[in-house]
Symmetry: C2
Subunit: 263 residues, 2 copies
DNA sequence: TAGTGGTCTAGACCACGTG
DNA sequence: ACGTGGTCTAGACCACTAT
């Protein structure tokens, strides 16, 4: 038994090595801590520990997985770096959630030119179910005509309309998502998604362009047709890099800007 | 002596603790590995190890700083995560450089809608010295009227003009930077800056907006005045978070998009 | 006082790259 | 065969939080 197997196994000992010295080394080597990381991720995925809750302590997990605390620590460190877990000295390690203020700014990068941070208000325009058009089905890795949910809304920053969003979700993952349910909810959508529908957005990829406002979008945003807008095409992913949201946003950047840090 | 002092010191031993038990604990606690990290950063900053070169091995550094290899490893890991160093198993740890293909994409996020990755050609329009206008002096943390260098250029992707840039640099840091010097150089500017002027860009912060092309910019980019453009305002920083570049870019996003990953 | 994560050490062994 | 970084372990102690 050696560390190359997909099953949980610790480093080869001298004795074990001499016993298997004739076996060819498997070409796929996976460190123990990555195997532990995979196990922890699994538990997150199936909801053994829910967003906001603490996971077991490092010593507990070390006992459970029969590895040293240091190996568990390494696995957790990686997951913390990927924003799946949050470590708090003296308290424990917690499942990350979009409820924290910190997480919200990670996915909404629009800031006002002057004045207050981004407290915003969402205005729901539409929520209906339809069959996925091809250009939506492809990024969501669905078959064309599979059911999807389409949400349209605007965001206002202190009364000023700044964003118009079209949000597409796989219908099978968001069965109870209706206009009524959404209208009754006030808060970030990703919080609703993770608490009510068990789907947590982990990372997203955006394509940003400048374009002239089409008539329909211009009307929604209260600008003249042809007005320059930031177009933000987002695909969001959950555990296992599975795409679970396509979002097309149009941002008015006369009094706001999109903040990005390169490092 | 304890780990709280700014000078290099390892964890308090039992004996030492009993000897200093009356001393109040300093409120500023700095782990050993962070002290080592600061020392390594210093060596990078003064150019003891140059971009692309290997730094001493972990055991060597452990000996030099009189700490364990594990502590050096932790310090290096942080610096690697910040893209200041690059670790290569079996070979050593190297000072990061903008010469690597990998680094280029970190700071130029424009990709073509279809086809090839971003091989581009820079066309120099202008390079002159002047006194810093206030709106440039402030982000560069210079006094108004201090000397700056202004570079104007365009970028073409397979013959198509996509970017017009105005690049402002502190005159004192870039003394030998002239139109002739630039014209003789072909390659990424950040490579020139780090090899010829000892200034390495580490991170940058960008503000992105959509706007209608002004006449001058439109002419440079070969589009109609009023055409929607992506406006990218960048401030770049070197070691110690000192700002050393202000860059205003106008991107044509008809056949290109700005790629951004949220995580 | 007890429990959590955070730091530091020392030693063994593994994987990778180069002679 | 050797040197590099990478993994894993075990144990001690520190810093933070709650009770």
């Amino acid at each position: 038994m050696n560390t190359r197997s997909a099953t949980l196994s610790k480093a080869t000992t001298e004795i074990e090595r001499s016993a298997q010295v004739e076996l060819p080394l498997s070409p796929t080597f996976s460190p123990l801590y990555q195997q532990i990381k995979a196990l922890i991720t699994q538990s997150l995925e199936v909801g053994e520990w829910k967003p906001g809750e603490p996971i077991p302590s490092e010593v507990e997990l070390a006992t459970r997985y029969k590895v040293s605390q240091g190996t568990v620590r390494k696995a957790i460190s990686v997951l913390a770096a990927e924003n799946l877990l949050i470590r708090r000295q003296g308290k424990g390690t917690f499942v990350a959630t979009h409820s924290e203020a910190r997480a919200q700014f990670r996915f909404l990068r629009l800031l006002p030119e002057a004045g207050v941070p981004n407290v915003y208000e969402s205005h729901l325009l539409e929520c209906r179910r339809l069959r996925a058009p091809v250009e939506i089905a492809r990024p969501l890795e669905l078959q064309p005509n599979e059911p999807v949910v389409l949400i349209k809304r605007t965001l206002q920053f202190s009364g000023v309309v700044a964003v118009f969003d079209e949000i597409w979700l796989p219908g099978n993952l968001f069965r109870g998502l209706t206009l009524e349910r959404l209208a009754a909810y006030h808060g970030p959508l990703y919080v609703l998604f993770e608490t009510e529908f068990g789907t947590r957005m982990i990372r997203a990829s955006e394509k940003i362009r400048a374009l002239a406002a089409a008539d329909e979008v211009a009307a929604m945003l209260g600008v003249e047709p042809g007005h320059p807008l930031l177009s933000v095409d987002r695909v969001s992913y959950t555990y296992g890099d599975r795409p679970v949201e396509v979002r097309r946003g149009w941002y008015v950047t006369d009094a706001f800007y999109y903040q990005n840090d390169l490092s």
